[in-house]
């Protein structure tokens, strides 16, 4: 039964990710006075891409064709660790947050290799940029997450979330810092404005798009889906760690329904915030990204510090 719910939760993750992407796009279009595409446009795009024949360059090795599958499955596995509508699921009990970061790193490694594999200038450039950014973003993310794990004294996400939930409404200064740090890292890692622009195909500014420039057909569909999933994953992380109220603690139909409604509400609000910030901000120069991520790291450190100093029992 528990495994069944875990499988359902993970498939919900995968199924809802394009909807979230569509919703963000819808909000952005409305904010910029444009006519918005339907909320289901990402699904249509994915289906269209899946039906198309993939074109693979002659020089491509097996790595190029296998990378989309690896990226997608690693992201789905990472998604299975994060509690979406219920805590205490067997999948989230079996792996902790460091494994999740590991899955992300694994997916990114293969994506970067695939970018290099074809040997085009853009692929290599995109890969090197992606690795630069991720090497700065990962420590900051771990710092932010360690703040949570120190509060709950466990690295298991589901246990940590139920710990936060059981404490009730406690204002923790360390969580303020960790929240900001995680938001900044999430923006950098999912390739949103101001670090990267997901809608651009302008040669010199793209990062994620440069790596996947050579992909087409179902390979492209998988990669796009994986990146939508990653965006949703970060959204769920932020929503459920810092505002866990509403998540189901028992597996009754009512609790699960409330959990689903709650996460819908939280993600809707988060997506609106993201759309507003993307409309207000301009993309920053590549060489300013280290300052930006350095700030995230600093916030993470301050979160840890203020946990030790302000909150730990003495």
């Amino acid at each position: 039964m528990n495994w069944l719910i875990a499988v359902i939760q993970t498939s919900l993750f995968a199924a809802l990710a394009p909807l979230l992407a569509g919703w963000i796009k819808w909000c952005k279009c409305r904010l910029q006075n444009r006519k918005a595409p339907s909320l289901f446009q990402p699904y249509r795009d994915l289906i269209k891409l899946t039906n198309k024949q993939p074109v693979v360059a002659e020089q491509a090795s097996w790595l190029f064709t296998i990378a989309p599958y690896i990226v997608f499955s690693a992201t789905v596995l990472a998604a299975s660790i994060v509690p979406l509508i219920a805590v205490d699921l067997p999948t989230s009990a079996s792996a902790d947050v460091i494994v999740m970061v590991g899955f992300f790193a694994f997916a990114r490694f293969f994506l970067a290799l695939a970018g290099l594999d074809i040997g085009t200038a853009f692929g290599g450039m995109g890969s090197s940029r992606e690795m630069t950014i991720s090497s700065l973003a990962e420590p900051a993310m771990l710092m932010a997450i360690f703040t949570l794990t120190m509060t709950a004294s466990t690295t298991n996400l589901s246990v940590a979330i139920s710990h936060v939930l059981n404490d009730g409404l406690v204002l923790r200064p360390s969580f303020v810092f960790a929240l900001f740090a995680l938001i900044i890292v999430a923006i950098a890692e999912t390739g949103r404005v101001p670090v990267d622009n997901p809608a651009t195909h302008l040669e010199l500014t793209m990062i994620h798009e440069a790596m996947i420039l050579e992909y087409s057909g179902r390979h492209l569909a998988l990669i796009e889906w994986a990146s939508q999933l990653k965006l949703m994953l970060y959204g769920v992380l932020i929503a459920n760690i810092f505002f866990p109220w509403g998540i189901a603690e028992t597996f009754s139909a009512k609790a699960l329904g409330y959990g689903l409604l709650a996460i819908f509400g939280k993600l809707t609000v988060l997506a609106i915030l993201l759309a507003v910030s993307e409309t207000l901000l301009a993309k920053m120069r590549l060489f300013r990204v280290q300052e930006y991520l350095g700030f995230a790291y600093l916030l993470g450190v301050l979160g840890l510090l203020s946990y030790i100093i302000l909150e730990a029992s003495r």
Partner: protein, 225 residues
């Protein structure tokens, strides 16, 4: 005593303290003057909230007056005046190239650790909340000084100076549960007078060296560095 056992007032004060510290860091890394002034106003707003909260929970009505004064002066008047001056002097489009921004930020983080370290002996004689609030206000003071050292624009120096005052004000509110009214009024008007005087000084600096970049003052040296 862990944070779950504290009452709601304490938790809120601690969170506000953390946010005040955060705004100090935001100011430290800010290269644009208008945004710097905006963050300064946000810090003032957080202070106003703290004061109002203290007034409410300590049942100390004269703190409300102090909160209103704070709101009028540090959230509205001084930021508005600084903003006007920046726009008048046409420096609002300048981006200050902060040299070694990351180093300055990390230096700020270590200043924060330092202020906790310095104040740690106090924990024996007072509640942990007091220690935290005091340590945070000390670090806001130190961060204000660091802001003045690391920025070159005179306007940024003024903002740094004012944020030092913010740190002291925060300490006073939390530690003494509200100073006597006379002292608060005196401080508030001092700040006001200081802001006006700084405005005059801006014009003087500008007419004498044709810029607000205080590094250019080094040119007055006989020997070139």
């Amino acid at each position: 005593m862990t944070i779950e056992q504290q009452d709601f007032y304490t938790q809120t004060i601690l969170s506000l303290a953390a946010l005040v510290g955060l705004t100090s860091f935001l100011m430290l890394g800010q290269g644009r003057l208008l945004r710097l002034i905006f963050v300064f106003a946000v810090q003032g707003l957080l202070l106003t909230l703290t004061t109002a909260l203290a007034a409410y929970s300590l049942n100390n009505p004269h703190l409300y007056i102090s909160a209103v004064l704070n709101l009028v002066l540090k959230v509205i008047f001084i930021p508005w005046m600084l903003r006007r001056e920046v726009i008048q002097m046409n420096t609002h489009r300048d981006i200050e190239a902060l040299n070694n921004n990351t180093m300055v930020m990390l230096g700020g983080a270590s200043l924060m650790v330092f202020s906790y370290y310095v104040l740690h002996p106090i924990v024996q004689t007072t509640s942990p909340v007091m220690l935290n609030a005091l340590a945070l206000s000390l670090s806001v003071v130190l961060l204000g000084m660091l802001l003045m050292i690391s920025h070159r624009q005179a306007v940024a120096h003024v903002v740094g100076f004012m944020s030092i005052e913010n740190g002291l004000f925060f300490a006073a509110i939390v530690a003494t549960k509200g100073m006597p009214m006379v002292v608060e009024l005196g401080v508030a008007f001092d700040v006001l007078v200081a802001a006006v005087l700084f405005g005059i000084f801006f014009f003087h600096i500008r007419t004498s060296i044709d810029s607000l970049d205080v590094d250019l003052l080094n040119k007055l040296h006989e020997v070139d560095k």
